[in-house]
Symmetry: C2
Subunit: 469 residues, 2 copies
């Protein structure tokens, strides 16, 4: 231990650094003990937001009661996978309607991959023979566009759903509501990343003709697969259920197989479905999303509650919904993810973030559960476990509670952070972190990497303003 200024000070200096980290780093580099306080001005230094936040203090008790109720609903749901059937049967989705991920947006505002996926879906449905004809249908509004969320559904990336696509049905048995998501197509050329060639359409046709009906028959006969314990188990196995779903996919495949065997007329119909599930580590993603939708919907619409009940992106905008404001969207331009790219690709090739999949971060999974998923921490180049632990600890700062079922063994069974509260987001400037795939910005490129993205602060600022309208 050196004593650098023995004559100037009676003891060694003890430095507390507040705010800018650079000063602390410099001192630490010189071997001076320094305690850094990560202080930032409230509300990003925005005086108006800081003032709104302090006005909200007057309603504090009311808000906290409302948030407790919303959080109780958010954590008290029971998501059960009960069926798989075409969207037109599952939730009366009409023809000539294309559902997409994220908040509402018009055709001309859509990014290339989402447009390409929409056109592919129109060809798959047989509403148009080629992309040009399909585009004309949309331009003439003979085919309409709407967010999945407006139909009780969720879709990853482009999130396209049309009437004849089979969707999983997840029922929240505690509240009686249902949510829907398509069957995940696998990796490679897939509609959700904006690929739409003949191979993509052929896979969609196989899912509708073979996989969907068999999965549906098996699920109906099973009496339902309870997803909450399965997801809690998968979390213990390193899935955060956004980037990584291998455990949940394998557990589900294992649980479904006896029911699939009973439901199959013969082994020839079963084998291709078993093969599809055996090779598909992200199979469960869409189910985690449908579970997320089923679990968050009852928490929406609680008067005075400042909890975030939806986060979704459409490749152009990021949108959130806040419990007190019900179905209303608060949007801002979406960010481009930071992450690792497949060989030959880089940030210039990346589409801004897309997909309804951020619903899983709303229920304490994905980026919120990074500490449960060391393998994802590595994959995302995030600085390993230390960074993963830091992320989950940071998300706790903007959440009202811990999930009673989604527990992290590494943290000696502490629950994941749940119930994102608008107020600390505004106060600290910390916005939710979302684990995500990265799509190429050119149609047909498909996935080019994976990473993380922050929800834009402006969505939350807008939602705060709405409390004073």
């Amino acid at each position: 231990m050196t004593e650098p200024w023995p004559h100037l000070l009676p003891t060694e200096p003890r430095v507390v650094n507040i705010g800018l980290e650079g000063f602390a780093r410099d001192l630490a580099g010189l071997g001076v003990p320094v305690v850094h306080v990560d202080w930032r001005p409230p509300a990003h230094g925005n005086v108006r937001l800081a003032e709104l936040l302090s006005r909200l203090e007057a309603r504090r008790e009311q808000i906290e009661r409302a948030n407790a109720e919303a959080c109780r609903r958010l954590t008290g749901g029971e998501a059960v996978l009960v069926d798989c059937r075409p969207a037109r049967e599952a939730f009366d989705l009409p023809d000539h309607l294309v559902l997409h991920a994220g908040p509402p947006l018009g055709w001309t505002a859509m990014c290339e991959p989402m447009r390409a996926a929409a056109l592919g879906a129109i060809r798959y449905e047989g509403w148009a023979p080629d992309d040009d004809a399909a585009a004309r249908l949309i331009e003439r509004q003979e085919v309409q566009l709407a967010p999945c969320h407006h139909w009780g559904a969720v879709g990853p990336m482009t999130g396209i759903i049309t009437a004849s696509m089979p969707v999983f049905v997840v029922e929240n048995r505690a509240y009686g509501n249902r949510a829907y998501a398509t069957i995940n197509e696998g990796l490679g050329k897939v509609l959700r990343f904006g690929a739409n060639d003949a191979s993509v359409v052929a896979r969609l046709q196989w899912l509708a003709a073979e996989a969907g009906p068999l999965l549906g028959a098996a699920l109906r006969a099973s009496g339902g697969i309870d997803l909450r314990p399965l997801m809690a188990q998968a979390l213990r196995m390193g899935d955060e259920m956004h980037q990584r779903n291998i455990a949940a996919s394998a557990l589900l495949a294992r649980a479904l197989m006896p029911h699939l065997a009973h439901a199959s007329a013969n082994t020839a119909t079963l084998a291709p479905v078993a093969e599809f599930m055996a090779g598909h580590d992200q199979f469960f993603l869409n189910l985690a999303m449908a579970a997320g939708k089923a679990l968050t919907d009852p928490a929406n619409g609680v008067e005075h509650s400042t909890l975030v009940t939806t986060m979704a992106r459409n490749g152009t905008d990021f949108g959130i919904r806040v419990s007190a404001h019900g179905e209303r969207w608060f949007t801002a331009p979406v960010n481009v993810p930071n992450g690792l790219y497949f060989p030959g690709f880089g940030p210039d090739d990346a589409n801004p973030d897309m997909g309804d999949s951020a619903i899983v971060e709303t229920i304490g999974l994905g980026g919120s559960a990074m500490a449960a998923s060391p393998a994802v921490a590595q994959f995302l180049g995030m600085g390993g476990m230390a960074e993963a632990l830091r992320v989950t600890a940071e998300i706790r700062e903007i959440c009202v509670g811990e999930h009673p079922n989604f527990r992290i063994p590494l943290l000696d069974e502490q629950g994941t952070p749940i119930g994102i509260d608008l107020r600390p987001v505004i106060e600290t400037g910390i916005t939710p972190l979302i684990n995500t795939g990265i799509a190429g910005c050119k149609a047909g490129t498909g996935q080019i990497g994976a990473g993380t993205v922050r929800a834009p602060f402006a969505c939350f600022a807008r939602a705060l303003e709405a409390f004073f309208e």
Copy 2:
């Protein structure tokens, strides 16, 4: 910061405590900074062993070259699951021979659960109509006993194998050798924990008549399931593959299902096997053991090598084998596990430790990989993650290397400790830690808990002596 003796010492005292931890604890309790050195006298303070160890120093280079070669073989194997067929076909196991776990021991030295399992197996084979007749066959040596390990096989707990039981066949494709283990029966009343009633025998018959043949046909048609990447993946999912095998079991079930579907004549034959695998989180244990046997065998018999290539228990003795000494066993009385008991049971009801399953600790899994399995750390009541990390770090002290494939994401991809070296075991007194199930000591009780057990130091001391014969 206080300065307790400003006039006695020019600076604050800096204390280094060596050996007994109590002094350090007392000082720390008084707020005095203290560095504790966890020093213990070499070789448990045994002067003779310390002397042998120092004589071994003269052969150091030779030994380290040999250990490097043995470790290369231990980590370079490729374990592929290729078949499932009756033991009599798989490795020519004759009738009237009962294989058991652990080092050799006679009938009268066997613990109650192992005897009960042996008698049950004799009834299952139809060699005797009841337990009394079965016992007479053994007493007259009309039925012989032998360790599984002597036949290239391994068995969990009692480890009983007889000729008509189907066994999985794991081939080490890098070295051409094969190893064998039965199909794990599941939980509840099972032969491996010493239950032997009609339900136990009926399950064994079903395994032989239905599950075994179908699994065998599926595996032969599959061309083999490569277990090393599957096990590496399962380790990333929190399985240490001794206490916890849920990830490996689910991954294997998912991978096998398409092959099972193709191999089944109809869905009615498939469904019960799919159900058996779906409900069975320890299904993979026996495969991890067979893989362990297939991977360790080539590392045995390397002249001068001090690496431990086998650890096994028979409920009476713990036995190890050391590479330089080939097939020779070094045994000592086995310990009773520490752990958690099912309701109604306690340490007085526990049988001393049993089973060939400690082979997984020999290949860097089980207790050696505790840091990869936070859920097991909790389950074993070990003081949570901090203790799990400590255990794996401690095992590193007695190992020569890190496994190149079995990596722990939580430790930023560090490999598990591999290659237990006799010399540091003697020097430090640290013996391998084994995760284990606890059997009731009365026949028919079955499993009563789970915990950990230390390999007895005396085995290692005997193996050291053998280097000077």
